[in-house]
């Protein structure tokens, strides 16, 4: 088993933790944190493939720059997610996702 295998298994387990949280928790903030954890697992995969792939000589910085852009998009996603949670809280006075069951304002 190579180091790349270990990194991929690590990120898979992190992804599964995030997925379990996103599917089974009812607090919207914890669901958002689960989604963030899944994004982090994807970033770990970028870095793992960049570090342990033999072809990095052609463009040595591509993986790093890809991961940085991905982190930037994740930051935007977190801000929008928290804004949605605050909007849901203003409307329902609650952040339980079971209670937020209408699309109509």
């Amino acid at each position: 088993m190579s180091a790349l295998h270990l990194c991929l298994i690590f990120s898979t387990l992190l992804f599964a933790l995030g997925l379990a949280a996103a599917l089974s928790r009812s607090n919207a903030i914890l669901v958002l944190l689960g989604v963030e954890l899944m994004l982090n697992a994807a970033n770990i995969n970028f870095i793992a493939f960049w570090r342990f792939s033999p072809q990095f000589a052609s463009n040595p910085h591509a993986g790093v720059i890809f991961a940085v852009f991905s982190i930037a998009v994740a930051a935007a996603e977190a801000a929008v997610g928290l804004a949605l949670i605050i909007a849901v809280y203003r409307h329902y006075k609650n952040v339980r996702l079971q209670d937020a069951d209408q699309l109509k304002g």
Partner: protein, 176 residues
């Protein structure tokens, strides 16, 4: 077992353990703070993998910014000042189904990874050399369009989140 492998396993155990405990906790502030530990673990994984630049970005963005956003969200959406917000793991079929499907996904993906031939470049000497100056030059040269698009995306997303979060208040003012 080499030292590098040992460090990796320690990082993985710390990251996965704190994330698992955080996502199973009832107290949401403790969950958010434990997730900060998990994000620091991921940053140390990046350091282990010789991606220092990404490790610093991870610390700045996740440990610094997103954790603050999450704590603001927790504080803004709790009803009583002390009482624990309802964050119980729903003791229902949904929770069982969620954990079971996540476990199935993990099993399927790990099985797929273990059955795949991957390049065997585990030697530490093969680390690609990355210096900040080269990254900066590439960001301003080859990836200039991409960084402009990311900047526009961040601006639009933050403006949009301000609009979304202040929507209800505007309506109430109009009604008054």
């Amino acid at each position: 077992m080499s030292l590098s492998l040992l460090i990796f396993i320690l990082i993985a155990i710390a990251t996965l353990g704190s994330a698992a405990v955080a996502l199973a906790l009832k107290n949401i502030i403790r969950a958010a703070l434990l997730l900060v530990v998990s994000w620091i673990g991921i940053a140390s994984f990046y350091l282990w993998a010789d991606a220092q630049f990404v490790a610093f970005a991870q610390v700045l963005v996740y440990v610094g910014a997103i954790s603050m956003i999450v704590l603001f969200g927790v504080v803004l959406t709790r009803r009583a000042p002390v009482s624990v917000v309802d964050t119980t793991v729903t003791p229902s079929m949904r929770a069982v189904a969620g954990v079971a499907s996540a476990g199935l996904v993990a099993l399927a993906v790990v099985w797929g990874i273990l059955g795949t031939e991957l390049p065997q470049t585990s030697s530490r000497a093969a680390a690609p050399v990355v210096d900040m100056r080269a990254i900066g030059l590439e960001l301003m040269g080859q990836y200039a369009a991409a960084i402009l698009i990311v900047g526009a995306l961040l601006t639009v997303a933050l403006l949009g989140s301000v609009v979304v979060a202040s929507h209800e208040e505007k309506l109430m003012k109009n009604e008054e």
